[in-house]
Symmetry: none
Subunit: 277 residues, 2 copies
DNA sequence: CGCCATACGTAACAGTTATTACAGAGACAG
DNA sequence: CTGTCTCTGTAATAACTGTTACGTATGGCG
């Protein structure tokens, strides 16, 4: 379905009459641009008539010339999106330039991932991908949105995902139900919130598997956590940046999704069924 | 004459009226493919009418839309023919080591900011830093946490910041109080949520100043928005990445904070007083 | 040599497109 | 508030585009 048009041509070019073969040659010769022009232009370039072009695209499986063009455009779009293609770019603005804020964020992301061994991420993913464990997520004042972000994705691909929202008292009472089969993902950066620390401590005592995402100075929660991920947060701003932790969150989400591919596919299918009714 | 159209846009975008500026944004956001489609398609993507598109290309120095398209095609042809890009890729020499996910995220951030002129960010900051305007923030399924993140910061440095949480019906009823003195910050990436579009449309009709953070394919809300920021989202994952938009959010927060430095310092002082009692 | 099937182009048609003129909406100075 | 100027969308139009039907040419086979 999503196959390349160039390949499709190569497959069928032998079975084509001479005129259409000329069309095929002209198309691959300067692929794919003439395919985006009008039928008349295409025909002139190929040295055939317009109807021959239409018969050609019809043989490729497209009912309308516009379908054919749409397909070519999609291919082009995918190709242009791959980041490495940027010859027309002003090369100067490349290395830095954007803004100190952006440069610092990128540097933070790089540094954060350089200091984290791959096996540590793998271990966390193992834990998060275990469907028999219940996942709870909570964050501080500014990091709670990141917890929500993770929860929004995880809850789609696996069961038993819960974001602890609202007031501290709300989730403190949940402690009584928590135990060794629970995972607690905590996000906490400066200034560390006492309420979170207390909560984490009690959860740790009950055997909850704590995964902490924090900054490079390490929240005191690190003492109770089984896994600690430290992200760089320094940027030229009055605030600390959570960008590195955000990318970390997305990375974890992506990996867990990959791990649960089969299970989650079925799960998503069921969800869409439920939505249709 | 043989200059790049993207550069030509960057030169003249400041002198353009708002509608044509939206056209410029839409074109730069996914350059250059929408420029190769029909005027009507281009107009729909940009959220303006067809004549505005024609005035836009006219301002770029093209007498006919077809001239404009021809120029774009030549650029594309030159770009596609130069094979140096992929082979001499400098990204490998640079330590790309981390992971494809991280590399893609960094590249997305770079690309996003490269496509956004500095004055556009400045304009948005101007609006957000106006204390007489009320700011409301809302997001879609996965982007709502970003709205929360922005709200959490903005609400500290200035008054009248409100995150629209929960069900659609909750905020739809707020429309009646909304008008020209309101700013609505909307985050919306694929797959765009109908409820958000409807909400934005009605808000736009009431004169609300809409700032849209979306992906490179532009949410349909772009039609109603006064400011559109398009972030790259493609990563090697089953999900789209909001990392670029996250950095954009942090950048906006940082800039607004800087702008309001004096006012917010007093405000923060008062807040701490209130907390101590 | 004659018949048939396939391939191709010409020409007409219908739908779509770019383009233009015009009027309403909005911003701004007086 | 009033007039003016800029900007923008609506609607009509003229050019063009894709598409189809049809006739001609060509090559193979009896």
């Amino acid at each position: 379905m999503a196959e390349n048009i160039a390949e499709r041509i190569a497959d069928r070019v032998e079975a084509m009459p001479p005129g259409e073969r000329k069309a095929a040659q002209a198309l691959v010769a300067n692929y794919p641009l003439i395919g985006l022009k009008t039928v008349a232009d295409f025909a002139a370039k190929a040295g055939v008539s317009a109807p021959t072009i239409l018969r050609f695209v019809s043989r490729l499986g497209f009912q309308h010339y516009s379908d054919f063009q749409a397909h070519l455009q999609e291919e082009l779009a995918a190709q242009l999106q791959s980041p490495l293609i940027r010859s027309t770019a002003p090369a100067s603005s490349r290395e830095s330039g954007a803004s100190p804020m952006v440069d610092a964020s990128i540097e933070n992301i790089r540094e954060t991932f350089r200091h984290i061994p791959a096996h540590q991420i793998a271990e966390i993913v193992d834990v998060l991908a275990n469907p028999r464990m219940r996942i709870m997520l909570v964050g501080g004042r500014f990091t709670d949105p990141l917890a929500r972000y993770m929860a929004a994705h995880l809850t789609i691909i696996r069961p038993n995902v819960l974001h602890l929202a609202g007031q501290e008292s709300n989730w403190r009472d949940r402690l009584i139900d928590m135990g060794k089969r629970d995972i607690l993902v905590i996000l906490d950066i400066r200034r560390y919130q006492e309420s979170l620390v207390r909560f984490a401590e009690k959860a740790g005592q009950r055997g909850v598997h704590i995964i902490l995402l924090t900054d490079q100075w390490l929240s005191p929660i690190a003492r109770f956590a089984r896994h600690v991920v430290a992200g760089r947060t320094a940027v030229p701003s009055a605030w600390d940046s959570s960008a590195a932790l955000f990318v970390m969150a997305e990375t974890l989400i992506a990996e867990v999704t990959r791990r649960l591919e089969v299970e989650s596919a079925r799960r998503i299918g069921e969800m869409e069924n439920l939505r249709d009714n």
